[in-house]
């Protein structure tokens, strides 16, 4: 058994930023365990640009954004192991990992959970129909094209208006495929407005809201899909069925934090984020186990993932120094119009950053954090949409010692 101050599970953007910040704060006895052959996580296949605008002030591709962090990791000789799959995390912070050197066991003082997220699949949606090949999640199609040089499609239909789906619509079009349309079951797009413009409208790809796939056809390969309109309850409306001939159906229907290791260790999850319940230190219900990035809640921008992981590293470093963190006994509840918040618990003694998503589209609204009827913090928004995470700093001055906090849209 090897002892470590901090074991970081995952070498994607959150893991890299956390490791670097821990090191810079003087915590050097750390290791990053990465399942893949390379560091960088999902950024390796996100070859489009638009990353790093807030962090680096320029538009980088995913691999460049990751490499900027990897270079810093290498410069400091921060230890990492690739091809290392963590099999189990225990509640007393032991980590079992399958590595090229065989099975390894670590005892950590602190564990950083940064495993990212997974895509929702056809199985999770329960789309009826036959089971031909040619149905891919957007990320799978992206890996085929951007890592393995395999063209997965000629005639394409996309279900779901997530960002990766729209980015793949453009990518497939540039490589010669024909993308017929994007269908979204919700009455609003789930991806960022800029991607609707630069990935769909620029290439004359129509986006149909309130539509979904209701049947899948094909023997060995997909031959077509049935599309139906849906009502306000998202139920398909009989008589609206339309057939589309295609060889490929791309699914971009949501991301789910990958928390199998966390739950096995006894980490409590929030049913809304599907990530851990954390306090303002990004600490889970297990002292010394921290979570940030997409394993905590799905982000739309990697720049914010890096910032969150750095904030986590700040707390984890204090935990290593002091053996504990100040208690957080004040709960934050998601109120009217708010889907979830991070953190879910605070101490009330220090300023913190509140992250949240709204449930539907709002114009000229106020996001209000209240405690015992008093306004603690307010953010005015011209436009608030579910596709964009909202973040603002809350000052501790007005926070009282007792009373649950609630954040809502007004």
């Amino acid at each position: 058994m090897e002892k470590k101050d901090v074991v970081i599970i995952g070498g994607g953007p959150a893991g890299l930023a956390a490791a670097l910040e821990l090191y810079n704060k003087g915590i050097h006895d750390i290791i990053i365990l990465e399942r893949e052959n390379h560091l960088g996580g999902i950024l390796r296949q996100c070859i489009h640009d638009g990353f790093g605008l807030s962090r680096f002030g320029k538009s980088l591709s995913g691999p460049e954004y990751a490499q900027a962090f990897i270079n810093e990791i290498e410069k400091r000789h921060i230890p990492y192991m690739t091809n290392a799959t963590v099999l189990e995390l225990t509640n007393d912070k032991q980590i079992y990992a399958m590595t090229r050197e065989g099975l390894k066991l670590y005892q950590a003082k602190a564990v950083v959970l940064v495993m990212g997220c997974r895509e929702r699949s056809r199985g999770a949606l329960g789309i009826p129909g036959e089971r031909p090949s040619g149905v891919f999640t957007a990320g799978t199609a992206q890996a085929y094209m951007n890592l393995y040089n395999r063209m997965p499609a000629k005639e394409v239909v996309i279900l779901g208006s997530g960002d990766i789906g729209m980015i793949m619509a453009r990518r497939l079009t540039l490589e010669g495929a024909h993308v017929q349309a994007v269908f979204e079951i919700m009455p609003h797009p789930s991806g960022l407005p800029r991607n609707i413009i630069q990935c769909l409208e620029d290439y004359n790809i129509p986006l149909y809201l309130n539509h979904t796939v209701t049947d899948i056809h094909g023997g060995s390969r997909l031959t077509g899909v049935t599309i139906s309109q849906v009502d306000e309850k998202l139920a398909p409306i009989p008589g609206t069925e339309k057939e589309y001939t295609c060889d490929t159906l791309i699914l971009s229907v949501g991301l789910i934090p990958d928390n199998l290791l966390s739950t096995d260790a006894g980490v409590t999850l929030d049913p809304h984020t599907k990530g851990a319940y954390v306090d303002e230190h990004f600490q889970t219900n297990i002292p010394g186990v921290f979570a940030a990035g997409n394993v905590l809640h799905v982000h739309d921008l990697v720049d914010f993932v890096s910032l969150e992981a750095e904030a986590l590293a700040h707390s984890a470093a204090s935990y290593i120094h002091d053996g504990m963190l100040p208690p957080c006994n004040l709960a934050i509840k998601a109120g009217n119009g708010v889907g979830h918040t991070i953190p879910q618990k605070i101490s009330g003694d220090m300023d913190f950053k509140l992250s949240l998503r709204v449930r539907s589209h709002y114009r000229d609204c106020r996001i209000v954090l209240r405690q015992n009827g008093e306004e603690i913090a307010v953010k005015k928004m011209k436009k608030a949409i579910p596709a964009e995470m909202i973040q603002f700093t809350v000052k501790s001055e007005k926070i009282q010692k007792h009373g649950e906090l609630e954040v809502s849209v007004e």
């Binding site: 070859i47 489009h48 538009s59 980088l60 691999p63 540039l174 800029r194 630069q198 620029d202």
Partner: protein, 125 residues
């Protein structure tokens, strides 16, 4: 508002804020502009009105590498109607590993003021 004045809504694509910008336009000139939260928004609307530009970020083939391709991007936006001609030029390229991030593989692609650069390190196999 005179008859030749048109109101147009833009979604700015320069950053993830995606500002909704409303512009009043007459004879190709912007009379008024609202909704942008930074100067880049105004520049974007002006560009969209006169000569829209975009970037693309595809990949090029690599021989002898640990990966069969390396990602690339443009250093500057190009006219929207040049996207496919530029794609054709990029598709013709094959480079040999090792490949280093930042390497220019096409200067002044299609005679435009933009370069194609590698964005991923690919080691030799």
């Amino acid at each position: 508002m005179s008859e030749s004045t048109i109101k147009k809504t833009y979604t700015c694509i320069i950053c993830p804020n995606g500002c909704d910008i409303e512009a009043e336009i007459k004879d190709g000139e912007i009379l008024s502009i609202t909704g942008h939260t930074c100067p880049k928004g105004e520049a974007y609307v002006h560009q969209e009105l006169t000569a829209p530009t975009r970037t693309i970020a595809p990949s090029v083939l690599v021989t002898g590498g640990e990966l069969p391709l390396a990602s690339v991007r443009l250093t500057k936006p190009i006219p929207k109607d040049m996207i496919f001609p530029v794609m054709d030029e990029i598709k013709k390229l094959t480079i040999t590993a090792p490949v280093c991030e930042g390497t220019v593989v096409l200067e002044k692609v299609c005679g435009l003021d933009s370069e194609v650069i590698i964005t991923k390190n690919v080691k030799a196999k």
